[in-house]
């Protein structure tokens, strides 16, 4: 048992305790994400690809975590599982005290709507809809009334500095502005976690810094942020960096330790 504990690279003893050997136990309220030995396999034309081979991860409320790894390490798969777009083949995934890993499609949709705010590399805005309407979308599916939707979407856009761009369509906005719209959309339903997948992948370096500042402010204000990236200098903005390799967590460090490692 103690041997197994050694092998799991979790940052702290507390994290080790909430994950390892606690199968079936509801995590306490402090933990927004707990995965226990989650695996995900794909059948690629007869050949089974093991994208995740037993990932143990625990994230506290208000943490700012970067998930890193080379391509093929399983980070996109992990991001899809954390984002409730997909379910694991085995293992447990607890999101905000709910067992998500065994949920069915419509329950997952409800959880995505309520608990998760997505920010994608390619922004994924609806091209024909205005910034305001894009930001309203999660509220439409949450069943919020039209007047309240407009109000909240306007507020969300103002909070990312786009109060004067609400009626612009995505093609009338710069890359940075589009990503801000996406961030506003992600935050409008007050999700438990902001889940960003290569949020700066399509942006130049100065715009990337700008978006990272927004993320830092959000983390500062208490928003849980999980960011998947393959760029170490982007990952270095997070307070904790998890590195995946071959479908397993290779390291899980505080920013300082990660920076020190990278420095070497």
């Amino acid at each position: 048992m103690s041997n197994a504990t050694e092998e799991v690279p979790l940052s702290t003893t507390a994290e080790r305790q909430v994950v390892v050997g606690a199968a079936g136990k509801v995590p306490s309220k402090d933990w927004v994400i707990v995965t226990r030995e989650i695996t995900r396999e794909y059948d690629m034309g007869g050949e089974v690809v093991r994208a995740l081979r037993g990932v143990n991860l625990a994230v506290r409320r208000n943490e700012y975590v970067a998930i890193m790894g080379p391509s093929g390490s399983g980070k996109s798969t992990l991001m899809n599982l954390i984002g409730c777009l997909d379910t694991p083949n085995a293992g447990e995934y607890w999101l905000n005290g709910q067992m998500v890993s065994t949920m069915r499609d419509d329950d997952l949709a409800r959880v995505r709507n309520k608990e998760i705010g997505f920010v994608f590399q390619t922004f994924n805005l609806l091209p024909r809809a205005t910034a305001l309407h894009n930001v309203e979308l999660p509220l439409v599916y949450a069943g919020v009334s039209s007047a309240e939707r407009k109000q909240r979407a306007n507020d969300a856009l103002a909070s990312v500095g786009l109060g004067n761009r609400v009626h612009h369509r995505p093609n009338e906005l710069s890359g940075g502005q589009r990503q801000r719209v996406a961030i506003a959309r992600a935050l409008v339903n007050r999700p438990s976690i902001l889940l960003a997948d290569e949020p700066t992948g399509n942006l130049d370096s100065s715009t990337s810094e700008e978006i990272m500042k927004v993320f830092a402010q959000l983390a500062e204000s208490g928003q849980t942020v999980i960011m998947v990236t393959h760029e170490p200098d982007i990952a270095a903005h997070a307070r904790r960096v998890v590195v995946l390799r071959d479908g397993l967590i290779a390291s899980d460090d505080r920013r300082e330790k990660f920076a020190a490692k990278m420095g070497n």
Binding site: R112, N113, F120, N124, L126, Y141, N189
Partner: protein, 414 residues
């Protein structure tokens, strides 16, 4: 997603792709257009038959004693036809016993009619519909003249050589002079024009105004019936609609006695009312409505297939959008409703265009052809419902495919 949101979204999609939406909805549009047009033609003809044509041929609260029905719409089989031909004619000698059996207050009239050549000094010979009448004919038919006068009782009893002409025939026979008081030659005998009758209108391009009325006892009736002393019909008009049956029974009893029919034998004469004539119309109306619905139905099936196809393409084109919506929390039902409503809106929009075009077509037919048309409000409601129904049916499959997409795969697709 709330219903209203989905409709708004559907309209936005249609607005962005106006031309594509129009062509998509064209099948339904054409189907509904023909449905509306055909139904209005059948309906218009029905109204015309019931209100005008039959009413003109058979007066209100009246029935006609004939040896066989003269309004035969639809199939009359050979055996029936042969039986009709074996029937004895109604004779002048039948009239008095029948009239004696009728209660007081009942009007009656006899007439015979045929197409006969009419000549005047002012034009070449024309064909007129000659009717020889006696009794209360003009009262029963509520017929009047616009010029001159009707026959006097004396002219009727004496069988004077006088005629009342229809306005169209007057125009043809006397294009340049006033017809009143002038002579026409019918069957080699001269008749004086004493009156010009009012217009009876037309139907299907056929004028009813080429008529000639003459007293039954004038020599004219020999031109109308080959059999001596035969008459075409005896018309009986009762004071009220309720009295028709009683009147018919009285006439039937007299005629059966005169024809010496045994109780087991069927009537060998017919008592024709407006209703019996309408029965024939109602029979063929059924077929017309059936054809009017079956033909546009093919259009609607094609329209439904087109919409289903376009919706499948739309689902394929918008897979990424579906992925985004699912990531943001759209449930299966939300996506299903979105695409169903889009298909339904598209199809209903096509049906609305079709209703407008169909009503326009009906109006065009009414104004350019003698065909009477009438756009019934129920057909508009049915058109809208059909549009919506086609949309729902053609939307189910594409929408359910969209709703079952895997969000990860959908997001990956560009």
């Amino acid at each position: 997603m709330p219903f209203f949101e989905a409709v708004k979204l559907a309209f936005a999609t249609i607005r962005v792709q106006k031309l594509k939406s129009f062509f998509t909805a064209l099948g339904v549009c054409i189907g509904v257009m023909f449905l509306i047009a055909v139904v209005s033609i059948v309906d218009g003809m029905g109204r015309y038959m019931e209100n005008d044509l039959i009413g003109k041929l058979i007066a209100i609260n009246s029935f006609e004693l004939r040896h066989r029905p003269n309004i035969n719409i639809g199939d009359v089989d050979r055996a029936t036809w042969l039986e009709y031909n074996r029937r004895p004619r109604i004779l002048e000698s039948d009239v008095q016993p029948v009239v004696d059996a009728l209660p007081s207050g009942t009007l009656w009239s006899i007439y015979s009619e045929a197409g006969v050549q009419v000549e005047s000094e002012y034009s070449r010979p024309r064909r007129g519909n000659v009717t020889a009448v006696d009794g209360d004919y003009f009262e029963i038919k509520r017929f009047g003249v616009t010029d001159g006068r009707l026959f006097t009782p004396g002219e009727l009893t004496q069988g004077s050589n006088v005629v009342v002409l229809g306005p169209d025939l007057v125009k043809r026979l006397f294009p340049t002079v006033d017809a009143l008081g002038r002579q026409v030659k019918i069957g080699g005998k001269m008749y004086t024009v004493v009156g010009i009758g009012e217009s009876l209108g037309s139907a299907f391009g056929m004028s009813f105004d080429n008529y000639v009325y003459a007293p039954f006892r004038s020599p004219i009736h020999r031109l109308l019936n080959r059999e001596a002393h035969a008459i075409d019909a005896l018309v009986v008009q009762t004071p009220t609609a309720d009295a028709i049956t009683d009147g018919q029974e009285r006439v039937r009893a007299v005629m059966r006695a005169r024809h010496q029919l045994r109780p087991s034998q069927k009537d060998n004469f017919s008592l024709q009312t407006a209703d019996t004539a309408l029965d024939f119309w109602n029979k063929i109306k059924g077929y017309l409505v059936l054809a009017g619905i079956a033909l546009p139905a093919f259009g609607l099936v094609v329209g439904a297939i087109v919409i289903m196809n376009i919706m499948l393409v739309a689902v394929a084109e918008r897979t990424h959008e579906i992925g985004i919506r699912k990531a943001l929390g759209a449930k299966r039902r939300d996506i299903l409703i979105q695409f169903m409503i889009e298909a339904t809106t598209l199809s209903t929009f096509g049906a609305a265009l079709g209703i407008a075009a169909g009503a326009g077509l009906a109006l065009l037919i009414r104004s350019t052809t003698p065909m009477p048309t009438f756009v019934a409000p129920w057909s508009i409601v049915v058109g809208v419902l059909i549009g919506a129904g086609v949309g729902v049916i053609s939307g189910v499959y594409p929408a359910s495919r969209a709703s079952l997409l895997d969000p990860v795969a959908a997001l990956r697709q560009e």
